[in-house]
């Protein structure tokens, strides 16, 4: 799959009182056409700056930003405006025009683009309102809508000019959990139906888990970990990534280690992915090798559409090693904790 977006050795400094404060430090990343790429970081990590580089709302101090292989930092003003019409953006606080109705807000980017006639605008706005499920709210003003509805208008507006990339700037951070879920579902639908590439930033691991294919973990302006969401989520390497995962899963690693310290058995972490999660592998193998096991902690859920399970087990028996080998042979990941 070709990269639709590439950042090559991008740095961004802010000048504050004659001092250069680095916001982003030598960022390299590639976003593949059609994927949902997430960037997670705490506030101040630089993610907000990073996403704004992609449509040049912020300019990099150094480095190249390529969209379809073309370095956008070299575009002149007019070329940049044309490019921006091909990159939609939605925002944490929606940023709808309070003076325009839902329909007028969605029509706004089409009017800015300038080459649509009234009939085309009307037709396109109708399609978009239908897609985001707001038909009965067409002529309302944003102040009359709930947060979730406002974000749907934001999404419709961002899609109006049929962009190639959709940027989501903390798009669900101002929404309650239920509304977050419905907005994430809508984004997922759009990603699949329109094959639209989505780049999002968030500080919530759950957003990454539910929507993204790949993730970059940003810490103090640097990418500290980058990979498939399932890998980063199930086997986070960097302390910052681990913190994000454990926070979202409510896991307190130290407490667990302390709690298990008196146990005599061997501790392992077993990870299932995909449909294997639902098969009775654990019982079968344990029975076959006469291994006694206790489940000490675990989580079973889905990453995007993939089911997974991750258990910490205490094992006792003569053939524990054979059992572990069999797990590995079955495609499960086995990590020995002790």
């Amino acid at each position: 799959m070709p990269a639709i977006l590439e950042l090559r050795d991008v740095s961004k400094n802010y000048r504050v009182d004659q001092c250069d404060i680095p916001a982003l430090d030598h960022i390299d990343l590639e976003v593949i056409s059609g994927e949902v790429f997430g960037i997670i970081g705490h506030s101040g990590a630089g993610k907000s700056t990073l996403i704004r580089l992609i449509n040049l709302l912020e300019h990099p101090t150094k480095g190249a930003i390529l969209i379809d292989g073309q370095d956008i930092t070299r575009l002149d003003k007019n070329e940049l405006r044309v490019l921006r019409r091909k990159i939609g953006m939605i925002f944490q606080h929606f940023n709808l025009l309070s003076s325009k109705t839902v329909a007028q807000n969605i029509a706004f980017p089409l009017r800015i683009a300038g080459h649509y006639n009234e009939d085309e605008i009307k037709k396109r706005v109708g399609e978009l309102i239908d897609r985001v499920g707001l038909i009965e709210h067409t002529d309302k003003y944003p102040a009359q809508l709930s947060g979730g509805q406002k974000q749907r208008v934001g999404i419709a507006r961002a899609l109006a000019t049929q962009p190639r990339i959709l940027l989501c700037d903390e798009a669900t951070s101002a929404l309650d959990p239920q509304t977050t879920q419905s907005v994430l579902n809508l984004l997922n639908e759009i990603n699949i139906d329109l094959k639209l590439t989505i780049v999002l930033i968030t500080h919530e691991m759950n957003v990454i888990r539910m929507l993204c294919d790949r993730v970059a973990v940003l810490d103090q302006g640097k990418i500290v970990e980058l990979g498939e969401v399932s890998n980063v989520f199930l086997h986070p390497q960097h302390p910052t990534s681990r913190r994000f995962v454990y926070e979202s899963e409510d896991i307190d690693e130290e407490m667990l280690h302390a709690a298990f310290s008196h146990l005599e058995s061997r501790l392992i972490r077993l990870t299932f992915r995909g449909n294997r999660t639902y098969e009775p592998i654990l019982g079968n193998i344990m029975r076959a090798y006469h291994v006694d096991f206790s489940i000490l902690s675990g989580r079973i859920d889905r990453i995007k559409n993939m089911p997974y399970g991750q258990l910490i087990l205490g094992l006792q028996g003569d053939s524990v090693d054979d059992a572990l080998a069999h797990f590995r042979q079955q495609g499960l990941t086995v990590e020995e904790l002790r």
Partner: protein, 220 residues
């Protein structure tokens, strides 16, 4: 009752008309000149789209000077310039240039303030759509700030009403002038009361009309 017999109704009617003409014409020009000036102040201000610290500083300084000159002084100082611009420095016509010069910087500041109230996120979103500077101003900034701009125009129009009262100095006429001439100089309190009532009514109507418009355009 004897008092009311000597009321110069014709003069009052004429003065009312003069006030309305001065108000309408000067308010129109204030709007035409003050709105772009206010937008320019806003855009070149600190951390705004066309940030130009030196230009903004100079423009801001000029606006402040004009705002600190008392209107009565402006009226007199501007006489030679007024003569060049409208061909006379006297009467209703002669009053209009100083009224415009007095009110425009005031209105421009109110416009600047109204524009600053527009959520930065909205400007950013409009930029992200690929809007040009002109599209940002006409499509997003002005519609979003419209209630504030209308409220500013209302305050300015009311300030203009009180400015017109001073135009009597150059024979500008109007209700304020009538109040001074009859009420103060000839001790005809009844005329003064009538003109003041008329001014109060005018201000009330302006305020009410302005408030209605603000409400009409406010969807927050």
């Amino acid at each position: 009752m004897e008092l009311l017999i000597n009321i110069p109704w014709a003069d009052i009617f004429e003065a009312t008309l003069d006030t309305l003409i001065m108000l309408a014409v000067s308010a129109t020009f204030t709007l035409i000149l003050g709105l772009p000036l206010g937008i320019l102040l806003f855009l070149t201000g600190k951390r705004q789209l066309l940030e130009q610290p030196k230009f903004y500083g100079a423009l801001s300084f000029i606006v402040n000077i004009l705002r600190s000159v008392p209107f009565i002084i402006l009226l007199i100082v501007m006489m030679p310039l007024t003569e060049i611009v409208v061909g006379s420095s006297l009467g209703v016509v002669g009053a209009i240039p100083p009224l415009v010069v007095g009110a425009t910087p005031f209105f421009a500041r109110l416009v600047e303030t109204a524009l600053r109230e527009v959520d930065r996120g909205i400007i950013e979103a409009t930029q992200a759509m690929g809007a040009s500077m002109r599209q940002i101003v006409t499509g997003a900034l002005i519609p979003e700030a419209l209630p504030g701009i209308i409220a500013g125009m209302t305050v300015t129009a009311i300030a203009l009403v009180s400015y017109t009262a001073m135009s009597g100095v150059i024979g500008g006429g109007g209700l304020g002038d009538l109040a001074v001439r009859y009420g103060y100089q000839r001790f005809q309190d009844d005329v003064m009361v009538i003109t003041v009532v008329l001014l109060v009514v005018l201000v009330q109507i302006l305020q009410m009309f302005g408030d209605r418009l603000v409400l009409r355009f406010s969807h927050r």
